[in-house]
Amino acid sequence: VKPAPFGYLAPATREHALAALRRYGSDAKVLAGGQSLVPMLAMRLARPAVLIDLNPIGDLAYVKPARGGLAIGAMTRQASAERDPLVAARLPLLAEALGWIGHPQIRARGTVGGSLAHGDPAAELPAVAVALDARLTLASTRGERTVHARDFYTGYLTTALETDEILAEVRFPPQPPGAGWAFAEVARRHGDFALVGVAVLVQADADQQVADARIVFTGVSHGPLRIAAAEQALTGRRPIRAAAAEIRRLVEASVEPDADIHASSRYRRHVAGVLAERAMLTAASRMRVPS
């Protein structure tokens, strides 16, 4: 299958890209790593009049320290972020989740910003961005604005991006000191889209109780799904293991996944409960009491 004809622009600078997007608006699609967009073009699920290719713009790819956390340029390849020592040191949850994206070949081309902006309902990075309270920098010729990851995903493959905006950068606050983390996923084959995935973050207080928890799913809703009831049930618990069955039950009661050709709704709900329990126990084992 071949794409419908399209125009192709390869602006050399961010300013040129934004000007082109301003001009073509919803007639244009922005090309990052192309790991979702190119297959969609080939299957003619997307038929933009113009592609605006961000790949020539080298200064959109970087990982740099920012206020104890990290600022990651949208065009940073997933493989680069996965191997970046700063990511490993400051955002181990992100580092762990990156390894679940597709295969090494996909991560070599796929970008952090591309995955976040595409917003596939089974993608790993949107759930991680919500769990870590990331802020997304959206740029247009009108200027920049910042949107919390939790406010960015508005519906199925739909985000807060306006037609003249690109996702330029994602800023992660540092993981809370001593917080335990885990990303867990079930797919039919490793590298397939997640049937269900979950990002968990648990933070202890000095008494080894859970002071704060984040449980964010992918694959069970139109976008990343935080399970506040399970987070609250975990808060104040010690030892965490004692909460496992309750967390599993709360998660199963909170998700209403769609069925598709890959798995039934009931299967996804059951796996969500099992994964929440597993990820929570892994995160707890990595938790350190603040000194």
Binding site: V186, A187, A263, S264, R266, Y267, H270, V274, L275, R278
Partner: protein, 81 residues
């Protein structure tokens, strides 16, 4: 899995040969289904047996209190590939 052989040479040609490939594949789903029936107490009568269908059969058995000898067999549902 153990594989046994039963030889029934064809009377229709000098070598006694038959078509291979397809004949060997036909009983395989039934063999798997029988093994699962034996292990879980299910009664599988339909293919394909997707991971979703198998898990739901196990959950239904557990809900009906008939899956006792499987323990928490449904926990294996997260095994993926």
């Amino acid at each position: 899995m153990e594989i046994g052989h039963v030889e029934t040479p064809s009377p229709l040609n000098a070598l006694g040969v038959k078509g291979a490939g397809e004949a060997g594949t036909i009983p395989v789903p039934a063999v798997f289904a029988s093994a699962l029936d034996d292990a879980l107490g299910t009664r599988i009568t339909e293919m394909p047996l997707s991971h979703s269908r198998l898990l739901e059969m196990i959950l239904d058995l557990e809900a009906a209190g008939r899956g006792g000898h499987t323990g928490r067999a449904a926990d294996a549902g997260g095994g993926g590939a």
